[in-house]
């Protein structure tokens, strides 16, 4: 029996069109746009101005406070603009635009191709390097990684869980990275184990990636304390709380963090970025992005410099097909629909999904027939139909008791609804209102 989480979950069509495709390196674009906020927390402060020359890997915006992450130039060239520009979320954010010239890297970055397995620095230094490299959670949540890895006083991590689940349909960037950078990811895991002082690491991989499971199992034979855990294919298996439940059997209580059950979860992409930062002094300036869609001529997995406009990725994948209805930044379950192709790839972008027009329009909403499917699929044990009804009626004061803040916004409820009701839309509305109520109490 494969392990999985117990409550709820759905089985959308996997559509992993780009599984097994080698990572292609996307050429450095002529122009990049780097928002100073690509993470949860305070925006970074720009430290360059128009006309400044920058090198690849140079810090261009520094972290503002602890819960923040620095931003580095992904190219070499000249700063052409520091101004507001629309990001993937549809909001205008402070963005540094750089006109590319050549590709001259900072000298301290080790660009040699070989794998460096020996870790000879101390935990404090590891944490510093991760913070300096501007690493955030690459699975999509973009929480600053050095904050996650700073264990609060009085708590103790017993294990670290590496998230290689990739449960979103269509996406294969983590899969591709695992197949091509296995040894490096294992060194990354060793670094995490040393930093957190834990003896045990688990790598969770969904069973639809047998090649990655086999490769990682072979690698795990050569490392003490690292176990590979194949997981049943079920969405949202890669949700942090669901993954912890599947692997350790423990449930993170409402409002608590993974460390409260003695563990820390890190995405495989993030683990690779940690390896590069610690062993090669390389900041987070590029990542693997799956560019996919049923109508795309040449979908694939690309190694992309942060700040590259989405348009360039689509060109590399064969151009935007006729009759495109939506371009998603991320997967179909949790991704954001982009208003334009000028928007740059950020640190949290695991995929670009092009959807044909006929699959892009929402179906007309019908009445709730109280089939209870939304309750059955909710992985957090909530009642989406009830939360939506309360949200429609502005009964926000009752929604906190109904645990609305536990919602992880996985979208399983809206997905399953036979009446095509926009449950998650209304739950989001309710969450923001309840959040206001909670804040006003403080």
């Amino acid at each position: 029996m494969l392990k999985t989480f117990k409550k709820g979950g759905i089985h959308p069509e996997e559509n992993k069109l780009t599984a097994g495709k080698k990572i292609r390196v996307l050429p450095v674009p002529e122009m990049v746009h780097i928002p100073v906020i690509q993470h949860l927390g305070m925006p970074a402060r720009p430290i360059v101005k128009k006309g400044d020359k920058v090198k690849t890997g140079q810090l261009i915006a520094e972290a503002d406070g602890f819960v923040s992450a620095g931003v580095h130039s992904p190219v070499s060239g000249t700063v052409s603009k520091v101004d507001l520009m629309m990001d993937a979320g549809g909001y205008r954010k402070m963005t540094i635009s750089i006109q590319t010239a050549g590709d001259e890297w900072m000298e301290e970055i080790d660009r040699s191709p070989g794998h460096k397995p020996d870790i000879n620095i101390q935990p404090e230094e590891i944490l510093k390097k991760i913070a300096m490299a501007g690493i955030v959670g690459l699975g999509g949540a973009t929480f600053p990684t050095h904050v996650k890895l700073t264990i609060p006083r009085g708590r103790k991590a017993e294990s670290v869980i590496i998230n290689g689940v990739e449960c979103e349909p269509f996406l294969t960037s983590d899969h591709a990275l695992m197949l091509e950078k296995g040894p490096e990811i294992f060194t990354g895991i060793k670094i995490l184990m040393k930093l957190l002082g834990v003896k045990q690491a688990f790598v969770g991989i969904e069973a639809n990636k047998p090649d990655a499971i086999k490769l990682f199992r072979d690698l795990a034979m050569r490392h003490i304390g690292i176990a590979v855990v194949p997981l049943r294919v079920k969405y949202p298996q890669g949700g942090e709380k669901q993954l912890i439940k599947a692997i350790t059997g423990r449930e993170v209580p409402s409002g608590k963090l993974p460390i409260d059950v003695g563990t820390v979860v890190v995405n495989v992409g993030t683990t690779y970025a940690i390896y590069e930062a610690v062993q090669k002094n390389k900041p987070l300036i590029e990542r693997v992005v799956t560019v996919t869609g049923k109508k795309l001529a040449n979908p694939g997995n690309f190694l992309v410099r942060i700040g590259t406009p989405v348009e360039k990725l689509l060109e590399a994948a064969g151009g935007l097909p006729q009759n495109t209805g939506k371009i998603l930044y991320g997967g179909p379950m949790m991704g954001k629909a982009l208003p334009s192709t000028d928007i740059p790839v950020g640190k949290g972008c695991s995929g670009i999904l092009v959807m044909p027009l006929e699959e892009s329009r929402r179906r007309e909403m019908k009445v709730c027939i109280r089939c209870s499917k939304c309750v059955q699929v909710c992985p957090m044990g909530l009642e989406p139909y009830l939360l939506m009804a309360m949200s429609e009626r502005a009964m926000f004061d009752r929604m906190e008791n109904e645990k609305i803040m536990d919602c992880i916004e996985c979208g399983s409820c809206s997905y399953i609804c036979p009446s095509d009701r926009p449950l998650l839309d209304y739950i989001r509305l309710g969450k923001s209102e309840v959040n206001k109520i909670i804040r006003s109490r403080k």
Partner: protein
């Protein structure tokens, strides 16, 4: 870029359930029981079902179009399901005008007056059935005997249901053990295939179970309500039977007769009128099981499933209000 992009919040894909598909699955699941019914009751079963479905759909259309003045939604199939279930709950030789009246009560009073699909507190087909049972007690309890295509629609040879024979016999002071072995009483094998007097769609235990498997396979319903009802009835009647087999019938007899399976699988699981959480469903189903046995054993009617379901329908809003699903994070770990 000349194409306009659609921007909407996630998720961007949806599953392939729709109200229409779910209703279609229920109708498909009822086909085996319908065929058994035609086998035993002949053309009468076809006529009664056709009239019931047609009048339910027509009443829904008329009420939505001319009374509520909204776009009719008869294509969602919910009126078809109500029509089939109403037909399944009446004798196969019921006069046509009574069926049409029943359809009007089901759709007009039990469903549309509360706002239509999704808003009715009581199962429409059962409301109509109980209305007819109280208004036309003679016609509603005159059961044609299963004679296949020889069954005459108008003046069929009639008899009592197994539960009716039992109730009548107990009233006359007979022992249950003797009653179960009278020639008029079908044996268990006959009960399983449906060779007995009774409502059009309730007789065929085997065929109803086949439909149950289909509904589970298509994930239309979960097992919780039907299995809990049957389990509760079986446990309750076992206790009585063990106490005094001369006064109380055995559990298998209770499970196979009186529309228990039809009610448990197809009526009690009606989405709109059953609870939203698994815990709620279990409580609701135990309630239905207990009330059914109480009515059958101590009540005035030989049969209690319809009343039991309607009775528990009334508690559903309360159950939904207080019985919450197990929240993630509540479980204490034993690692």
């Amino acid at each position: 870029m000349d194409q306009k992009l659609i921007v909407s919040p996630s998720p961007h894909i949806s599953g392939d359930y729709s109200i229409r598909k779910l209703m279609m699955h229920v109708v498909i699941a009822l086909i085996p029981a319908f065929l058994v019914s035609v086998w035993f009751f002949g053309y009468a079963a076809i006529l009664v079902t056709a009239v019931s479905v047609a009048s339910c759909v027509l009443f829904e259309y008329i009420i939505q179009r001319f009374v509520m003045k909204v776009k009719p939604t008869i294509d969602d199939g919910s009126a078809v399901v109500t029509g089939v279930l109403l037909a399944f709950n009446v004798p196969a030789n019921l006069p046509v005008w009574i069926i049409i009246l029943g359809a009007l009560v089901a759709i007009g009073i039990a469903k549309m007056s509360f706002g239509g699909l999704g808003n009715n507190p009581f199962n429409p087909a059962l409301v109509a059935r109980v209305f007819l049972l109280i208004s036309f007690p003679v016609q509603m309890t005159t059961w044609p005997l299963p004679k296949g295509f020889d069954t005459k629609y108008a003046d069929a040879i009639t008899g009592a249901t197994p539960l009716g024979i039992l109730k009548e016999g107990i009233r006359n002071g007979s022992s249950v053990i003797d009653l179960l072995h009278t020639p008029a009483m079908p044996d268990y094998q006959q009960l399983f295939i449906g060779n007995m007097g009774g409502s059009l769609g309730e007789i065929a235990a085997g065929a109803l179970l086949l439909g149950f498997i289909y509904l589970l396979w298509k994930r239309v319903i979960t097992w919780h309500i039907p299995v809990t009802i049957v389990f509760t009835v079986a446990v309750f009647t076992s206790v009585l039977w063990l106490i005094n087999p001369n006064r109380y019938a055995d559990p298998l007899f209770h499970v196979l007769t009186g529309g228990l399976l039809l009610g448990a699988i197809y009526m009690a699981t009606d989405y709109v009128t059953s609870p939203m959480t698994v815990r709620g469903m279990i409580i609701y189903a135990i309630g239905i099981g207990i009330v059914t046995v109480v009515i059958r054993v101590w009540g005035a009617y030989p049969e209690g499933v319809s009343f039991a379901i309607l009775f528990m329908n009334a508690f559903v809003p309360l159950i939904n209000r207080y019985i919450k699903p197990g929240r993630f994070g509540e479980e204490v770990h034993h690692a």
